[in-house]
Amino acid sequence: MTEAQPAAPDGINERVRAWVEFELGVTGRILEVVTAPADVLGTDGAEVDATDPEIVQLAADLIATMRVSPGCVGLAAQQVGVAARVFCVDVSEHPKTRDHHGTFALCNAEVVDSSRNEKAREGCMSVPDFTGDVKRPSRLVVRGQLPGTGETVVLRANAFEARALQHEIDHTRGFLFLDRVAGAHAIHPRKTYL
């Protein structure tokens, strides 16, 4: 018999919204972010035990590294050199955000439902020289486990949070936004201003 999965609440999942990294009980370390063409970025992440102390530390490290990286709204394990299905996001300060769940990390996350494709231009700390136009669903249901307690949560995300979640889940499966760009003219050198 399979374990019953919780249903996604309408609107914000209050458990995820209330989650804070202090629940992890460890101090996050700031790690170096790896850039393409590092092999780890193309490696499918291993399923993890969300209660494993190493995974809890990894989640704390990802959040700490995200926090000190200007403009960073999410970071996946592959980006710090670990091929594992763990990431964190926090889109709360981004102008394109509508609803959001604040800062949270998820393990073994998967998209269980999606709709309403929208195209937008994405960048990535691991691909610092390019941006790309990527079409992704703007409404999403995601299931994963919170690191630490390991409890399974299901949440609905929309707009920019939905895009960030798909970008990070892609990382955990070894995909970059480069793998999703809409066509030969959908990749853009990142502008640099002197």
Partner: protein, 172 residues
């Protein structure tokens, strides 16, 4: 009516498009399809223009662009080509990985051998990251799964990653 294939290529600066197209407009030429972009700091224009002017007249009108030696211009008369309708499926192919010789030739060679027609292709190099994005029409009777696995095997041999997704057009 004559069709001219015109290229302008060289050191980027403000005004290249304005000066080129002003000269073409002065001859009554119509710019049909064109692409103009920066390639590693070089500005590159490719245009198909139609009109009554001769190739010699177009070259003469564009001669001032080449005056300081920073731009190369070519003008060539080309026949009218009918756009071919594709009966197959359209795909976006992304290849990325560490830079090395042979990525473009190997991948496009495999695609061509399978009867795939590349209709657009961009490559970019940044640091050690090499990126190729191609739009590919695959034949209707082609075995898409077999073509994809052949390209994947070639990419493995090069140590690069390859992803396919079907090009979507939302009919409204």
């Amino acid at each position: 009516m004559t069709l001219h294939a015109i290229t302008v290529l060289g050191h980027d600066r403000p005004g290249i498009i304005a000066e080129t197209t002003e000269a073409l407009a002065g001859l009554g030429l119509n710019i049909e399809d064109s692409t103009m972009t920066l390639l590693r700091g070089h500005f590159a224009m490719m245009l198909i223009c139609s009109g009554e002017a001769t190739g010699a007249a177009v070259s003469e009108a564009l001669r001032p662009l080449t005056g300081d030696g920073s731009l190369d211009v070519s003008v060539r008369e080309v026949p009218v080509e009918e756009a071919k309708a594709t009966e197959g499926t359209s795909w976006v192919l992304t290849v990325h990985g560490g830079d090395r010789p042979g990525i473009v030739s190997t991948i496009t060679g495999v695609v061509a051998s399978a009867g795939g027609n590349i209709t657009d292709l961009t490559t970019r190099l940044a640091g050690d990251l090499y990126l190729l994005i191609a739009e590919v029409d695959l034949p209707r009777d082609g075995d898409v799964a077999a073509i994809r696995s052949t390209v994947a095997a070639a990419a493995d041999g090069l140590g690069v990653r390859v992803t396919w997704h079907e090009a979507e057009a939302d009919e409204l």
